[in-house]
């Protein structure tokens, strides 16, 4: 080393040594890291919930696309529909509600909607907006009073001594969300665990890759580290595992995401995607575990509308966890009053792009 650089090196060492005393103490930094990690985990969880719901939506559009091939005879409605405007006529925005419900056939206990997702298609058809609502959100359920949002599905569908009426559960949930947000929905799609299992079997199972071994508390089955082929029953069993895993619900969310990726991979397979017969089989497999209610539009029209829109990256909007004691004394989730008010207004006026630009922290990707 050049001798005339020695003073520079000495000055540097001295400057660094002096600076040591200004180093912030570790204790507060450690606390700040913990706080940031739990914020980040919550955000991840919201993003994963949106991912799962989006996949549900994709699963639902498979039957939608399938019906184009198998039921081309659907007559075009004479009245103008919101999805297919006439020449020169601007399209209208569309809003859908997607519900993922727990339970199998629902015979033993009622179903609740664990995924509540609003899907907004703007008039310019630029992209999909996915707005998730916390399942534990405290809301006014029309005709039933104050409760958690996921209870609306149970209250609507429950029939003593009979199988639950899933369509009525979806309808009450839709009315609840409509009352909360002021949005009028053009359709509602509902899928339960059993539907998920049947769709998995209908595509011939999925290839799921796990970073760590999972043991089922329900069946005793072992899911080893690495990639494995799962049929519908195994996929469902894996996705029910939460207790006993290192990060509980987080791990379950991650496994759900792995499953969903695998399922979407299967659905993009040309052997399935380009084969209307196979798609019709998948649709038939879901049967009554999938319900779809459309208002003022037809399935082929909806499919034609959604196909180009769905090609753009959707914008997910989520919330952070904010529990309070609800009016009944139970813990419920709440939404930031100002932000949710402006969001719902933007949704009604089809101005979500502006809202998202002003609230980038709500975008979950």
């Amino acid at each position: 080393m050049n001798d005339d650089l020695r003073p520079v090196e000495d000055a540097l060492r001295a400057a660094f040594a002096r600076q040591e005393e200004s180093t912030p103490p570790a204790g507060p930094v450690r606390a700040a890291i913990e706080a940031a990690v739990s914020r980040r985990r919550r955000r991840r969880r919201t993003a994963q919930a949106v991912g799962v719901a989006l996949a549900l939506f994709a699963v639902l559009s498979v039957p939608v696309l399938g019906r184009i091939g198998t039921a081309p005879a659907t007559p075009e409605p004479a009245a103008p529909s919101p999805t297919t405007p006439g020449p020169g006529e601007p399209a209208e925005p569309l809003d859908f509600l997607v519900l993922g419900i727990d339970g199998g056939d629902g015979r033993r206990h009622g179903n609740r909607a664990d995924t509540v997702l609003m899907v907004h298609v703007p008039a310019d058809r630029s992209r999909l907006y996915l707005i998730s609502l916390p399942r534990d959100l405290g809301v006014e359920i029309p005709g039933y009073g104050y409760d958690k949002l996921n209870a609306a599905f149970y209250l609507g569908s429950h029939r003593p001594g009979q199988r639950p009426d899933l369509a009525r559960g979806a309808e009450l949930t839709e009315r609840t969300v409509a009352a909360l947000t002021g949005v009028r929905f053009d359709g509602t799609a509902t899928l339960n665990y059993q539907g998920l299992r049947q769709v998995t079997d209908a595509v011939g199972g999925v290839e799921v890759c796990l970073p760590d071994r999972v043991s089922s508390r329900h069946t005793g089955r072992e899911y080893p580290t690495g990639c494995q082929h799962l049929d519908g029953a195994r996929a469902l069993d894996l996705l029910r595992q939460r207790v006993g895993m290192p990060e509980g619900a987080h791990d379950r969310d991650r496994n759900a995401q792995r499953f969903v990726k695998a399922l979407l991979q299967k659905l993009r397979d040309p052997a399935i995607a380009d084969n209307p017969g196979r798609i019709a089989e998948i649709l038939a497999a879901a049967g009554t575990n999938l319900t779809l209610r459309l208002d003022g539009t037809t399935v082929p029209e909806l499919a034609a509308t959604l196909r180009p829109v769905a090609a753009a990256e959707p914008v997910g909007i989520g919330w952070t966890i904010n529990p309070v004691r609800g009016v009944t004394g139970a813990w419920v989730e709440t939404l930031d009053p100002a932000e949710s008010h402006s969001l719902f207004e933007a949704l009604r006026r089809d101005r979500l792009a502006e809202w998202v630009a002003r609230h980038p922290h709500r975008v979950t990707g």
């Binding site: 005339d4 650089l5 003073p7 520079v8 090196e9 000055a11 540097l12 060492r13 400057a15 660094f16 002096r18 600076q19 040591e20 200004s22 180093t23 912030p24 570790a26 930094v29 450690r30 700040a32 890291i33 940031a36 990690v37 980040r40 985990r41 970073p211």
Partner: protein, 159 residues
Amino acid sequence: MTYEEFVGSRLTALLRYAMMLTGDPHLAQDLVQETMVRVQLNWRRVVRADAPERYVRRMLTNLYLDWQRGSWIRRVFLRAEPDDTVPAATDHVQTTVDRDQIWSWLARLPRRQRAALVLRYYEDLPDAEIAEVLGCAVGTVRSSISRALATLRAELVEA
């Protein structure tokens, strides 16, 4: 090693290292916090590395080098602007000015050069390890350091 053990034994050293890189306690805290959040969320991958400590130091360094659009890096430059109004009346004051001067010169160096200086003259790492942390060749480390020293020497002569 658990995450808790790692934080307990390494957090202070990481904060000091970030302090030397940024020259500012708040920015050092931001940098360490962002690094450690990522470390905790990806702990399984970190702990599988041959040397978790070196792996994390490399994460922190990359964050420092790549965090271009973050406002904090601009704040470093603004804060480190040499202050022309500082009087230079006595030797004592002159010493203080020199101290501040060194930090403002450091702040104007390319970040990669500055990181190399910190790794050699504060962390006392051999050039091979510096190269590993910076993800470049040993020759590049040596040329970065000699360029940085030459710049600093020119400033020192001028001052």
